[in-house]
């Protein structure tokens, strides 16, 4: 990983507050993500990690605060705009098309790059066919990268969970993202699957220089692979820094282990 250089701030989250009615999901959260880094968001259950990701992703519109991407500030954005800016994500509980093959699922990640209209694609002739061939080449690179060649034509629903997670990552990668948001990429995996997934995340970061923001529960994984960590608890930020800093932070320790009162 010697060649990877951490660059300027690419994503800047400022004073974000998010409420659902009277429930405060996030309160005044600020942090930044630098280009090419692996940035983790951790915290106990219900700390607001997924809400934070959904704000960045444009699924939720926070009541206060702003998010800047490459210096441009947005207060309201829909998820399509976010995707067009080069932000891709995976989901905690897999939002794949279960009945479709691995190939087709990953192909949907190329959707934004396709210009042909519905009719052309339905007839699949001329321009549409050429376009599909080009896009398929990108998809094949992703398949090769994630080593899922044996499953191209397997319906996703029939595959083991760990592999489905890999397909989910594949679909996000197919977008050629600049920033990749991963929502608990290792949840429900066994040790070997976790090792594989960690390897893939680091490889994506290393080979393509993709900036990675990930939410994860498994502390050992987080500490091993991330450059900087944000810690949330009850919607508030209680720590931010390198894995070593965070591990030594007394607030973090009490949030995770509890304290004597």
């Amino acid at each position: 990983m010697a060649t990877r250089k951490i660059g300027e701030v690419i994503l800047d989250v400022k004073n974000i507050s998010l409420r659902f009615g009277g429930v405060k999901a996030l309160t005044d959260i600020s942090f930044d993500v630098r280009e090419h880094e692996v940035r983790a968001i951790i915290g106990p259950n219900g700390a607001g990690k997924s809400s934070m990701l959904n704000c960045i992703n444009g699924v939720y519109a926070p009541q206060e605060g702003s998010i800047s991407f490459r210096g441009k500030t947005f207060s309201h954005m829909n998820s399509r705009q976010v995707a067009e800016m080069g932000v891709a994500r995976t989901f905690q509980n897999l939002a794949l098309f279960k009945g479709m093959s691995v190939l087709d699922n990953i192909m949907t990640g190329r959707n934004l790059k396709m210009k042909c209209n519905l009719l052309q694609q339905a007839i699949r002739w001329g321009a549409a066919e050429r376009e599909e061939t080009t896009q398929r080449q990108h998809v094949e690179r992703v398949i090769d990268f994630l080593e899922i060649q044996p499953y191209r034509k397997t319906p996703v629903g029939k595959m083991p969970y760990g592999l489905q997670k890999r397909v989910d990552l594949g679909r996000a990668l197919a977008m050629d993202p600049q920033v990749l948001l991963l929502d608990e990429p290792m949840a429900g995996m066994n040790v070997e699957e976790k090792q594989d997934m960690s390897r893939f995340i680091l490889d994506v970061n290393d080979e393509f220089g993709t900036t990675i923001v990930l939410i994860e529960h498994d502390m050992s994984v987080v500490m091993d692979i991330s450059d900087r960590v944000v810690v949330l608890d009850y919607g508030k930020k209680i720590g931010d820094g390198t894995p070593q800093d965070v591990r030594a932070n007394p607030d973090v320790i009490s949030a995770y282990l509890g304290t004597n009162h």
Binding site: T3, R136, E140, I143
Partner: protein
């Protein structure tokens, strides 16, 4: 006419430059390398290697799967008169040390990061290993070790060299003589250090051509290369015969896509050890168990017909009109689609070798119209010694001696072979060479067997493994462990077996269940299990295996000579025997002596009359780490039968 591999390659390139030589599936598409392009690739690689200092007579290690550029690298080395030494890509790092030091190897061409990591680890143990080139650069971008470079870089320097001295390559190819050493294969051996088997261009090409004549192979054959290239069998089928015949060799996308690739390519000429055929049949049977009632009925009905009629049709014998019609219907509904699924639609000739094949397994493939045959040979004989002619395939023989081969049986019952394909020597090991090669040119195979009335060779066991039962009801009877083990392994539920009994009063066995088959069997019966070790110790599984063992006993009792080899007690091992733990050879043959030693406690428990025994075993994982597996193993008795008296 005698020739060399590089010359054969150049002849194909001159005669049919645009024809396909190799195909490799990458990024989802079969990419073709023509003979013309191959010739250029080899030329540039050879120039690059010469530039790097590879000299005539030196050895070069090649490690990796079946990749076109690794094949080209072998040709390039041979063009320079250097000797490629293919090693098993799944071997542990320490297993590389002996061959590399034995042949004083300082150059290596490997497939990928995995192999690079292994070789870099060996730098201390093998200080002379100076240059390493890799084919696939993935994950290697940040490696800065001295002497490590990509194959692309080697090609680049070779291209420059070739531009400066365009005649260099052709002159080198001319210098290489048919009698020169072409390749060295390290035999894993069930005991001691591996031995380097030295073959010349002559020995390999002669056998490749003899085999090709026997089965009338042409340059139109399609072959899928997916077994380790370090195994002489794979090397003969996808390298020596490839160059001798000029057919197309297809390289699968990855080890895990072989069945898909097989189906896409539809090879016409196919070669695999029995375990591959067994694996395919197991998959079919498991899928059939899950099929609907009508499909199941169709399958059973037509397979029964196929077993009765198929082999006779294959052997060209007369079959009644109704059976012929039934078989044609079966072909439409079952055999055809099944062959297609297995990737055998176009197979003209298929061979199995390396181990004995079960009669049921053998009959299954022949009955659905796959021309599966057996052959006999070894690394030392460049494979082809005996082959089964098209209409004379049988499960219990290995065929007739082919062109150029002479066979005789020594007084001790060992098979001796004389053939133009015999090894020149074991590398730097004259003592071992003298042991197997007599002054008159006979090679001692180490196999016990005989030629039957039809001139077919029949193998009983390894000569040194055949033992005697001492004491008990069968005192003095012959004990043929492999024969017994094979009979056990013919059951789909049993993956591996180790029989013990030499100089003892009775025979005992260790069993490895087939995890896939038994696992599926257990699921069908709602039998929960946590993993291999747990499943293996279920009383129901023991009952299942006991039935298999008793069937084998009943069968052995029918053979007066081998009735003493009946198994009286057995246990199911808590772990699968593994080459990484030294229990199997890289070609997956059981190292019986090692296993018996490693599990001495279990042997003692079997003969000590215990009903269970605790065992703790260290295991090596694929990534080189190790762990502990422990379990309390049940030991059960089995019924044995009185020997059936000889009728005549």
């Amino acid at each position: 006419m005698q020739t060399t591999f590089p010359r054969l390659m150049l002849e194909h390139a001159a005669a049919r430059p645009g024809a396909a030589a190799l195909r490799e599936k990458s990024f989802g598409i079969w990419q073709t390398l023509t003979w013309g392009a191959l010739a250029t690739l080899v030329r540039e690689l050879a120039c690059g290697l010469a530039q790097a200092g590879l000299a005539r007579g030196q050895h070069i290690v090649i490690v990796g799967g079946n990749r076109p550029r690794l094949y080209a690298a072998m040709l390039a080395a041979q063009s320079l008169g250097a000797i490629p030494v293919p090693l098993y890509q799944d071997a542990a790092t320490t297993e590389f040390v002996f061959p590399i030091n034995n042949a004083e190897i300082s150059f290596a061409i490997v497939e990928d990061q995995e192999q690079v990591d292994k070789l870099l680890e060996l730098r201390e143990a093998c200080p002379q290993l100076a240059r390493i080139w890799f084919d696939d650069p993935r994950g290697l971008r940040n490696y800065n070790e001295a002497g490590l470079a990509s194959l692309d870089a080697l090609l680049e320097s070779g291209r420059t060299c070739n531009d400066q001295q365009p005649d260099f390559f052709d002159a080198e190819v001319r210098k290489t003589q048919p009698g020169d050493v072409a390749a060295m294969f390290f035999t894993s051996g069930t005991t001691g250090n591996p031995k380097g088997v030295v073959h010349t261009h002559n020995t390999l090409i002669d056998r490749a051509q003899a085999g090709a004549r026997f089965d009338k192979l042409t340059n139109a054959e399609e072959v899928l290369a997916y077994l380790p290239p370090a195994w002489v069998g794979q090397n003969i089928f996808s390298y020596a015969q490839w160059l001798a015949c000029g057919y197309v060799v297809n390289c699968p996308e990855s080890a895990s896509t072989v069945s898909i690739d097989l189906n896409e390519i539809g090879p016409t000429y196919y070669f695999a050890p029995p375990r591959i055929f067994e694996g395919m049949l197991t998959t079919v049977m498991i899928r059939m168990e899950d099929a609907g009632v009508i499909k199941k009925w169709l399958f059973q009905h037509f397979m029964a017909l196929a077993r009765r009629v198929g082999p006779q049709l294959m052997d060209g014998k007369a079959v009644s009109g109704t059976d012929r019609l039934g078989y044609a219907l079966g072909k439409l509904f079952i055999y055809g689609p099944l062959r297609n699924t297995l990737g055998f639609s176009r197979v003209r000739v298929a061979y199995t070798a390396g181990e004995a094949i079960g009669p049921d397994l053998f009959t299954f493939y022949r009955s659905i119209g796959v021309n599966l045959k057996q052959l006999y040979g070894s690394t030392e004989t460049a494979v082809f010694v005996c082959l089964q002619p098209d209409h004379e395939a049988r499960a219990d023989t290995v065929g007739v001696p082919i062109d150029g081969v002479e066979i005789k049986v020594s007084e001790s019952g060992e098979i001796l072979v004389k053939s133009p394909g015999l090894l020149r020597e074991y590398y730097k090991n004259p003592a071992a060479t003298a042991e197997v090669l007599t002054a008159e040119g006979w090679y001692h195979t180490g196999d016990a067997g005989f030629l039957d009335a039809g001139g077919h060779l029949k193998i009983i066991d390894r000569a040194k493994d055949v033992g005697r039962i001492v004491g008990g009801a069968f005192d003095g009877a012959m004990f043929a462990p492999k024969y017994v083990e094979n009979k056990l392994k013919f059951f789909a539920f049993i993956k591996e077996a180790v029989a013990i009994g030499d100089k003892r009063a009775s025979v005992c066995a260790f069993i490895n269940i087939d995890f896939e088959a038994v696992g599926n069997w257990a699921e069908k019966r709602n039998l929960p299990y946590a993993g291999y070790t747990d499943l293996a110790q279920k009383p129901e599984v023991y009952e299942l295996i006991r039935e298999c063992v008793e069937k084998v006993n009943a069968d052995l009792a029918l053979d007066a000579m081998l009735a003493g080899s009946q198994i009286s007690r057995f246990l199911i091992l808590h772990k699968e025997l593994d080459a990484d733990d030294g229990e199997l050879t890289r070609t997956r043959k059981v190292r019986r002596g090692f296993v018996a030693e490693r599990y001495q406690v279990l042997v003692d428990a079997l003969y000590g009359g215990k009903t269970e025994q605790f065992i703790e075993t260290q295991v090596k994982f694929e990534d080189g780490r190790s762990g502990i597996v422990s379990a309390t193993l049940q030991i059960v008795d089995t019924k044995t039968f009185a020997a059936v008296k000889k009728a005549a």
